[in-house]
Symmetry: C2
Subunit: 767 residues, 2 copies
């Protein structure tokens, strides 16, 4: 064959040129040779070929930068190389020069020593030493993919049992229940149908006794709050709307009756709430006031004449908003309103207010509007409520913490209105614990899907080799594995929280509330971040509804907002830290801040040891002796400097509220550092309790990764404060990379350890 514009025969037709064929092909096919490079090749060739004039001329003409070969000629060269090399032995790891020598041999031509030198020089000049190019030329199809994931280094079922803890039984019951075909996911349902589906599902759970788990046995429950929480956590690996519907009905609505009501309310309502015969809701939030419950504006005026409370919505900003179960199904609401007796305000109290009759019709004086389409959780019928002179009997006050007598006398076991308010709110901390755990389960689902996909999906790869499994890419490990480690770490902290919530005495109530605030914020933010990264890590597949990220993302997105806005919660925790949990803040509480702050400024923070701040040994970095003190030092230092900055402002006569606003970012950082410290401490405590050495070893790796990743993220701060020298900060980064590589082979088994059944994961890319 000939090239269009060229008179000389193609090198494939001339045995003399055979040794140069691979080089020629590469020189042109690579497409980016610069003229100077081609000239250099030319020179090398022609020098070597001094005694073979004809060959040199031929080659020269094929190497003229102004006269590149045609696409067709190049293709023909490639074809000739492949044909001629087809029967050669041992070509799978051959360099270009050697390939040329072998090709020449197939044409019966021996290559001289000087020619071989020239070939090697060109190979060098092209900058393609190595065997990859010939791999590509000779084996255009990538080899088939054979690598398998390494087996588990620990007993995966044992890991699941470890994480399940004491509540293994209820978790397994939930898993079995939710695996049933009736709970199968369906996509693209319209809102009305979805809401009905969720109601059916919730009834099914109620029928199984799940809803009443935390209620007294006398009311058909099990009297076991932790069991309910464990069921809720497991439920969160299923549909988000079902989770929230159940949370509203059994947790918030039923919980408010349980915690704020007394025996008469328990007897009258809890059984039918738990069985879902009486659907209801928790009407706290108003359009104008969400996190700031103290300033709610719905009123409950006591009418001495009839012995009733009269519930009113003064204006649209005071309408109850976002109330789950309000738009369609709810019949009775726990309504939070400002109690008024004889024109005097007694603060926020909770009242049971019927909003729909048995026939489902909205009752007189009540107006209800559907909140409509939401970002997620569209299976929950959120609505808005207005009350216009709605009368409820005196007994409908949930009266555990305050009673109004027939003649309008007000009494309470808690004299201080401020303390009473926070005691009432405090009983609802279970909601925060539950949201933290619910978010956590969603993160586990997302990680399970993304890690499984990442061990199967291949894309790109070294020349001539199978494409590379996604999880073998450092960037992919970097995205998924630290989040996997954080999720494991959180598991121990959240279970600690649930236990403290259940078992804590009244004395440490505030500490539990503060811990719940911090962990709820951390967990929900972690979940939002993790699901997002997992979605991106699954590319377009992650964008399909069947692969679950759509629902996981959308449904959990509001977790950072409800049950307390995360930023508000972080400040609540910071205030708790500032006062050693001695006070609640709100109403007039803030005004005594100065005295507690002064106490905190005296906190001494451990001195830095320059030997430690410079130590870059991996064994040091991976030891608890480095990690725990680092987390503690940061938390202590942030707290004492926060107190000092606040004190300065208060001393200068700044309004306490404004002083707090001025150091708000510092307060949030303090709360976050404290929360991370608790997480690390609880993770290590959990590892110490673990008796299975294989599990413990796997967990230690995760704890190291969690700790060092968090320090890495905040290494700007640690360096600013002299805790890390630059060399150590760099060493930590490297160790994080190394840990990612070390954990990678176990990643699949670690997500499987979460124990989420395939039916609940749903995602075809992961099951």
């Amino acid at each position: 064959m000939t090239d269009g514009k060229r008179k000389t025969p193609s090198p494939i037709d001339d045995p003399a040129l055979l040794p140069y064929l691979p080089m020629l092909y590469v020189a042109w096919a690579d497409g980016d040779l610069e003229p100077s490079e081609i000239r250099s090749i030319c020179r090398t060739l022609t020098e070597a070929q001094d005694d073979e004039k004809q060959c040199r001329d031929l080659l020269g003409s094929w190497l003229d930068p102004d006269q590149p070969p045609s696409a067709d000629s190049l293709q023909a060269m490639l074809g000739a190389i492949r044909t001629r090399s087809a029967d050669l032995p041992d070509t799978d790891r051959i360099g270009l020069a050697d390939l040329g020598v072998e090709l020449a041999r197939t044409g019966g031509r021996e290559v001289s020593a000087s020619e071989r030198r020239a070939l090697e020089e060109i190979e060098d000049a092209l900058g393609i030493a190595g065997t990859e190019v010939s791999q590509l030329i000779l084996f255009p199809a990538r080899p088939s993919e054979t690598a398998e994931e390494p087996g588990p280094a620990f007993d995966v079922a044992a890991m699941t049992r470890l994480l399940d803890g004491e509540y293994e039984e209820i978790r397994n019951r939930m898993r079995e229940l939710l695996r049933q075909p009736e709970f199968r996911y369906e996509y693209g349902l319209d809102r009305a149908a979805y809401r009905e589906r969720v109601l059916e599902w919730a009834r099914r759970l109620a029928a199984e006794g799940i809803g009443a788990l935390s209620y007294p046995e006398a009311q058909g429950g099990a009297g076991d709050m932790l069991s309910f929480i464990a069921a809720f956590e497991t439920l969160a690996t299923h549909d988000g709307s079902l989770l929230v519907k159940c949370g509203v009905q059994f947790g918030l609505f039923g919980g408010s009756i349980l915690q704020l009501g007394t025996q008469r309310h328990h007897e009258q309502y809890l059984r039918v709430v738990g069985s879902l015969e009486l659907p209801g809701g928790f009407a706290m939030t108003e359009t104008g006031h969400g996190s700031n419950v103290y300033d709610l504006r719905t009123t409950a005026r006591f009418d001495r004449g009839t012995g009733e409370f009269v519930i009113d919505t003064p204006d649209d900003a005071a309408r109850k908003d976002y109330i789950g179960n309000a738009a369609l199904h709810g019949k009775l609401m726990t309504v939070f309103a400002q109690l008024e007796i004889d024109g005097e305000g007694y603060g926020v109290h909770a009242f049971l207010v019927p909003v729909r009759g048995d026939d489902g019709r909205v009752l007189p004086g009540v107006r209800i509007e559907d909140c409509g389409e939401k970002l997620g959780l569209n299976g929950v019928d959120n609505g808005r409520l207005w009350f216009d002179g709605v009368r409820v009997p005196r007994e409908n006050l949930l009266n555990r913490f305050a009673e109004v007598s027939v003649d309008g006398g007000y009494s309470s076991p808690i004299a201080s209105p401020s303390k009473r308010f926070f005691t009432m709110l405090g009983t609802l901390v279970g909601g925060r614990v539950s949201v933290a755990l619910g978010a956590h389960s969603a993160a586990k689902s997302a990680l399970t899907i993304a890690v499984r996909y990442a061990t199967r999906r291949r894309q790109f790869g070294p020349a001539g080799a199978p494409e590379t499994v996604l999880l073998d890419y450092l960037t992919h490990q970097r995205r998924l594995l630290p989040r996997l480690a954080t999720t494991y770490a959180l598991d121990f902290a959240l279970k600690h929280l649930a236990n403290e919530y259940q078992e804590g005495s009244d004395d440490d109530r505030r500490e539990v509330e503060a811990l719940a605030a911090g962990l709820k914020a951390f967990s929900t933010w972690h979940t939002t971040d993790t699901i997002q990264i997992c979605r991106e890590a699954c590319g377009g597949q992650g964008y399909l509804a069947v692969n679950r990220f759509a629902a996981l993302k959308a449904d959990t997105d509001v977790f950072s907002t409800f049950e307390g806005d995360n930023i508000v919660l972080m400040q609540l925790l910071a205030k708790g830290l500032l006062t050693g949990y001695k006070r609640q803040f709100g109403g007039m509480g803030l005004l005594r801040l100065a005295r507690y702050v002064a106490g905190q400024t005296a906190t001494t923070v451990a001195e830095l040891n320059p030997v430690v701040t410079r130590n870059t040994d991996e064994s040091h970095l991976r030891s608890r002796d480095f990690q725990l003190p680092a987390f503690r030092w940061r938390a202590d230092h942030l707290l004492s400097t926060l107190a000092r900055r606040l004190k300065k402002r208060l001393d200068d006569g700044m309004d306490p509220f404004e002083a707090l606003v001025a150091v708000q970012d510092h307060a949030v950082a303090t709360a976050r550092a404290h929360t991370e410290r608790v997480i690390l401490e609880q993770f290590w405590a959990g590892i110490e309790r673990c008796e299975d050495p294989d599990l413990a070893e796997a967990l230690v790796g995760l704890a190291d990764l969690f700790a060092l990743y968090r320090i890495e993220l905040d290494r700007g701060w640690f360096q600013e404060h002299g805790y890390l020298e630059a060399s150590k900060a760099k060493a930590i980064r490297k160790t994080v990379n190394k840990l990612c590589c070390q954990i990678r082979p176990q990643a699949l088994h670690l997500v499987n350890g979460f124990g989420i059944p395939d039916e609940l994961l749903g995602a075809p890319i992961a099951t």
Copy 2:
């Protein structure tokens, strides 16, 4: 009145106790007095009252820690204080001690000097010096909210014109068009109805000539790519599905015909593509291969006998996936397939393949499946395509870069198959430019909604004062304003990119492609992050579909994946930087990496000047002389160390692909640093061109915030490399806070400067 358990009369009945009434109330109502505190108050009181035995005894009984007053008594005390102080003048800034004195006076009792001292001591002991407590006691209702936003310091319309630039006219035309009632948003539409709505909308835009803007005038267009891009950018403030539907039809499908086809294709198709009479799609992605186009596996075999190409899908992994317009509306597809002639592979080429007839029926040999529900963009009918021996005439090869003759001869103006491949792909870079701009518009919408809401919504506040506007909180400013600054900064960089894309010569094509890769990744990540933060900043309101975040989030989420996965793109840019844009990498390209890398390792990075690394003056931090060199130094340093690390691995004989994987995180950081540098440079260049001093001043503040915020985010790195000393890193953090406060009063006007009509924002909370 009397207290239940108490025999002594209430202090409200005894004039002698009136001066102590406010203290008594606060001591108990505050709810958290410790017994030691109460005892200390008791002591102070009894000491002062030595000569008034009766009064002392009475007080003592009311301060007994074991006998707190009842809730009712406390409420009565409050009532008495309020009643008695009602007619007092000047109580709005009175301290507790003074209030006591005044109350006594209303009862006709004068307070002695020693009593006054005692009162002051107690006030101090309670830690409530100041006037806030009496504010709270006397004025339980917060004052009404009167503060207004400050006016603009610049001409808002002029800012919009500045951002609109040369393409103001088409942008205004788009705004006017999209404001029409027919384009009004509707929520909760089912998928089928939504898809039809989007098709109608797209037809409407086509009828206005928007679709054909980039096509030649001869085919009914305006021959103006930048005009099309500007229209697309503006369209992105409306519905995401409409944006992507138009992007697929006019940009990708039409664009592939325009860029990869020749005159005959233009004449035959462009007019009907632009008018949407011929809906089509762009079938590149396969289930098994997205970003890795080189390894696509659909085949197009040339049948010499009939002169046709035969398109086949070898297996399910090679099915075309996620193809917009495929599930319902598309009739013709640009299909990317491996060209085979006589069993030889020629690499990926594009073919026009009909998939539906005029009647809308799927053609023989073609199988189509709907991708179903997605996370977002559900108004776009994405589908999957399988081809089974589908024959298309030879003319259906888009033959600008390669032709197959009747007898199967292959020719191309670009001899090198590698270069040809990248030239083909390179023509499609417009898609990346468009996605970067589309994401950018969505970020603007989100910021406009969130900032407007943040200037209206109030929550919490100082005691007795109106609640505080959200945007007056530091944490709120911290969340929104740096993102606002980044969005402004990006605006200039993205317009620079669009211009370079349009005007760049063939020589700097690779640089433009690399820039598009970096900015597309940066912009889409920034958008995902910004929308998320904006949603959270709007709390529950942000979760309602009508307030737009649901759609903004869901629709743009896939932007980080399509038109090139962001992580892959960042590595593309890093490779471009490593070679000074001299090479494309892919196929065998990577193999010559070593030679270019060696060149980069010689790059010298400017020496550090200790005077500069320690300078914490605000004027220095806010100067271009600090910011630009910092961005440049980081980019240069990362690049040269990346090259060095790579070279070491290559010198050690590591496979180039694996060497790159080993330093992947470094490569991504390098690409990001480079992109941020370009953004800052372009922002400053834009400010220099700005002739309106008010606008320029506003932009300078944003540039400072952008630059310092980015340095703050990466201050870990800057400290590790000795570029910032700890004191300077801290000073930067403080300056970011200060800039947030300074920009806050203009925030509303800055988002209004984006010029998004209310009808397009939609959100009731913002309009």
